[in-house]
Subunit: 199 residues, 2 copies
């Protein structure tokens, strides 16, 4: 299995992959998920549809992997020695402008996923679950340091708290999710809910 | 102004108003917001479109007022002597079945609001803001009792926490927002974030 996976992967260089993802996100911003076609991706990137399907399987996977590739670095790598430090580092990975653009795209994809079960599945399997796994590493380190209790009742609700921050901020406050807002939300809601003593 | 408002209101009895709201929500479930027409509401309720427009102003206002009318009782009236008691009472106003149906409708309306600015405005002015005002009464009583500090940094984020509970629960967990889930979320996230000592 590993050999086959490597063989499939080796057809496209990392540079070429990055180019393709950039083009996919451009198209996504221009026409939206439903109107985006594999033909248009092939034309824009001068690749064959066969290559796209062989490499990614389909449009939902290609789009979600482009989103994921666009995210800066790995969440789990932030290791500052405190949960607050780790969370604040995560928030600082993207500047406000990049964060607003990605947040707009994610919202559009989440809307499209309501009527595209394949996209919903791809979003969960290829984006939400891997990110939550990395979050778990950050949280496990905090448990190991004794900052939070392993049985903290708020631990299963990390994603709910964070989703609420983004959705209510953009939909109800009608403001972009800035670094300043997210740091404030982390300090006011996430850390106290987890039982981390404020600094 | 009061006289005019009274005169306008008096054209429809509360019973008739309730009948109309029920019919609007039925239609909303059947065809969705975009396909729902004032003609269909008029036909279903045997009323004239002129009456509907005079009484509600338009489709967004009519639909949102139907949603609001459908909610049980007033949030601010829950007064059990503790914030936890008040929150748990609020959660118990609707059984799980009613909550799931309302949550589905709210999600559909929030989606439709993305492309209908008038609906978004009506949702905020006629549903979210009045509910938040009532929440503020519940929270003010908790401040007055000394349960939470008036300057608790989590106070501005009540709506974000609650929105996250509903959105992540339905969209990512793919489970309905049951009373049990909401009580657990309130105890694990909302009360600790507000600094309320656990029982």
């Amino acid at each position: 299995m590993t050999e086959i996976a490597t063989a499939r992967r080796s057809r496209i260089t990392p540079e070429r992959e990055a180019e393709l993802y950039t083009a996919v996100l451009e198209l996504l911003r221009e026409v939206g998920y439903d109107a985006l076609t594999m033909d248009a991706v092939a034309a824009r990137t001068r690749s064959s549809k066969a290559t796209l399907y062989r490499q990614w399987g389909g449009k939902p996977e290609l789009v979600v992997k482009a989103m994921r590739h666009n995210k800066p670095g790995s969440i789990g790598d932030a290791d500052t020695g405190s949960l607050r430090g780790d969370f604040h580092t995560l928030v600082s990975r993207e500047d406000d402008c990049a964060m607003e653009r990605n947040s707009d795209l994610m919202r559009a994809l989440a809307m499209a996923a309501h009527t595209n079960p394949d996209l919903m599945r791809a979003l969960k399997e290829l984006l939400v679950e891997p990110e939550m796994d990395e979050f778990q590493r950050v949280l496990r380190r905090a448990v190991d340091r004794g900052e939070i209790r392993a049985d903290s009742p708020a631990l299963p609700y990390i994603l709910h708290m964070l989703v609420g921050a983004f959705v209510a901020r953009t939909l109800i406050d009608e403001l972009p999710p800035t670094q300043e807002f997210l740091r404030s939300y982390i300090d006011a809601v996430v850390l106290p809910a987890l039982g981390v003593q404020s600094h």
